[in-house]
């Protein structure tokens, strides 16, 4: 036996290592558990805090408007619609309340769809509109405005909303079918989305070129996104959808969290990745198509909600999903307030405000977090 041979096999014999044991000593393990429990408590507090903020924002949104009614009057009208006469009942119940609720609902829906899409595509840059859903919806709306054509005839005032929904959903179904083609990965899906985005944008430009001045104005206004299209019917539909999508996401929470560790790890943990991806894409499709059909193009919320949630609570989906929805709802609720406050008496389209105010806030948030991590 040579000296070198003896050294190679002899110095670190496993039995002599002594640093690991088969049956761990649990007394030393409490630090990791305590750290985890502390983290959980912190996250529950964050969820509670953001919920309270959202509630405050919602009340302020309802109270805020050209009428300048005292908060007590608004509260009383909310509790008893006829407390201060028919005028206030109409303003609060038919106008302000639906707008405030749809802001919260659509914000939550868009952020939830964004969070799920980022998880499913394993790409933090994904959002419902990455896959061309918004451009498809815009084209559908433009088609209804310019040509008056719809798959279902005689829809009357619902024509534009319905067409937007159908085209958004059709795009999602196309992507779903594409995912079933063997060998199509998440990168290919995003590339499909980009291709769809450009195709529908070109078709939309064609519609705008063909449109009259009045039709062109309607298309542009629709694309800007507006909460003034709120109605109790839309609220009911949105609430039903959210009541289905949120519990379903919670049901899949551990599998979705595992999906973020990559396909190989998820498969090794026994997850049917292909099936999970299709199921979640169906949910995302319904969420995205509904939100776009309700208020038009509001592209920023689906990206910012999940990003802020990720920065605060990480990607344990038990917290990431609800916080994304809450942040999305809060973002759109605050935007609704700001859109009414810029010029008294004028409500600016929500899509413009989210981008104008949200993007600088978002960038500063990312930069401050990076700085904090680097220091």
């Amino acid at each position: 036996m040579s000296l070198s041979t003896d050294k190679v096999v002899g110095t670190d014999h496993p039995e002599g290592d002594g640093q690991v044991s088969a049956v761990p000593n649990n007394s030393g393990s409490t630090l990791a558990q305590m750290g985890y429990r502390r983290q959980l408590k912190h996250r529950y507090l964050i969820l509670l805090g953001v919920t309270l903020l959202l509630f405050a924002s919602f009340i302020f949104d309802v109270a805020n408007g050209p009428g300048n009614f005292p908060l007590s009057v608004v509260f009383e009208t909310l509790l008893d619609p006829q407390a201060h006469g028919i005028k206030l009942e109409v303003i609060i119940w038919d106008y302000r309340l639906p707008i405030a609720i749809i802001a919260v609902l659509v914000g939550a829906i868009l952020a939830l769809a964004g969070a799920q899409m980022q998880t499913v595509l394993n790409n933090p840059l994904a959002e419902p509109f990455t896959l061309g859903v918004s451009s498809a919806a815009s084209f559908g709306a433009a088609l209804a405005i310019v040509v008056g054509w719809s798959i279902v005839p005689n829809l009357g005032p619902l024509l534009v909303t319905f067409n937007a929904f159908v085209f958004a959903l059709m795009t999602c179904i196309f992507i779903l079918v594409a995912t079933r083609i063997k060998g199509v990965g998440t990168e290919t899906m995003i590339l499909f989305g980009i291709a769809i985005f450009f195709a529908f944008n070109a078709a939309l430009a064609m519609m705008q070129y063909m449109a009259s001045e009045d039709e062109l104005a309607r298309i542009v206004f629709w694309m800007m996104g507006s909460l003034s299209r709120a109605s109790w019917e839309k609220i009911s539909l949105g609430a039903i959808l959210l009541c289905f999508a949120l519990p379903y996401s919670f049901y899949r929470t551990w599998q979705l969290t595992a999906l973020r560790m990559g396909d190989d790890t998820a498969i090794s943990l026994g997850i049917d990745v292909a099936r999970l991806r299709v199921e979640m894409l169906i949910v995302i499709s319904l969420l995205a198509a509904t939100a776009v059909a309700f208020v038009g193009t509001v592209g920023f919320v689906g990206l910012v909600g999940p990003h802020i949630a990720r920065l605060i609570v990480g990607e344990d989906q038990r917290f990431f999903i609800p916080l994304s929805a809450l942040v999305g709802a809060l973002t759109l609720s605050l935007t609704s307030i700001i859109s009414k406050m810029i010029t008294p008496g004028i409500i600016y389209p929500i899509g413009i405000i989210t981008a104008l105010i949200g993007v600088p806030v978002f960038i500063s948030l990312i930069l401050s977090t990076r700085k904090e991590r680097l220091s």
């Binding site: 036996m1 496993p14 990791a32 983290q39 190989d264 026994g270």
Partner: protein, 257 residues
């Protein structure tokens, strides 16, 4: 507890990788090393057993039950597979990563016993100090150890480790294999690990299975398998097997002329 693999065939599409792979009965508490050159079918064999790749023929019998006919859920409760790729850009702590692996087979709600189980595995693998660290902030070796922790925390009956030491330094190679071995004996599990380092394989494995181009060339005790000429032919090297003064095997390998 026993594992038997008989005439297993598997592949990707029309390309057949595994050709009638048979491994004689493996018993609980046995550490089997799967050795062979790159692209010899080791990972495909693991994926077939774990159900990630559909096998086209043969049987994989664990405790008398053919795993090929088990559902994904049933299979993941008894088989844990650690893939070659590990690490990710997810915003999750090490503790969360190990917990999520455990929660795939237990109920939705996190119980105290789950936390205890995660802590125990982290401690056993010497990862407790990294519990709060983000998975994306770990070195390659640390991420690989977390991947091992994800596999062991589920306490399966069969553990499949695809190159568990490829990113580890010498100390951690020895300590992690030592821990896996201790775990295995303590829980009476079966461990099958793909290893490229023949000295590690000789030191830690009870049995070695040599595989080349999807076929099993040898299956037996390390001293028997490593002394075969088939090792030289398979790896295209010249080897000599020596026994050290501590009664461990040492494979001296040089490139063939």
């Amino acid at each position: 507890m026993t594992l038997e693999i008989s005439e297993l065939c598997a592949g990707y599409g029309r390309k057949q990788i595994l050709k009638d792979v048979s491994v004689s009965t493996v018993h609980g508490g046995e550490f089997v090393g799967l050795i062979g050159p790159n692209a010899s079918g080791k990972s495909t064999l693991f994926k077939s057993i774990a159900g990630a790749v559909k096998s086209t023929g043969g049987t994989i019998t664990l405790d008398g039950r053919d795993l090929r006919h088990a559902s994904r859920g049933q299979r993941s409760k008894v088989v844990a597979y650690m893939p070659q790729s590990y690490g990710c850009n997810a915003v999750l702590t090490v503790f969360e990563c190990v917990l999520l692996a455990l929660k795939q087979t237990t109920g939705w709600r996190v119980k105290d016993s789950d936390l205890q189980q995660v802590s125990s595995v982290l401690q056993a693998l010497g990862l407790s100090h990294l519990a709060d660290r983000g998975i994306s902030k770990l070195s390659g070796g640390q991420a690989q150890m977390v991947s091992v922790a994800q596999t062991l925390v589920r306490e399966p009956r069969l553990v499949l480790l695809d190159e568990p030491t490829s990113a580890l330094d010498l100390h951690h190679q020895l300590s992690i294999l030592s821990t896996i071995r201790s775990f295995m004996q303590d829980k009476h599990m079966i461990v099958v690990a793909a290893l490229h380092d023949l000295n590690l394989a000789a030191q830690f494995c009870d049995r070695l299975v040599l595989i080349k181009e999807g076929e099993v060339l040898a299956d037996g005790k390390p001293a028997d398998v490593l002394s075969l000429n088939a090792i030289d032919d398979t790896y295209r090297v010249r080897t000599s097997l020596e026994r050290t003064s501590r009664d461990t095997l040492y494979v001296d390998a040089r490139l063939s002329a």
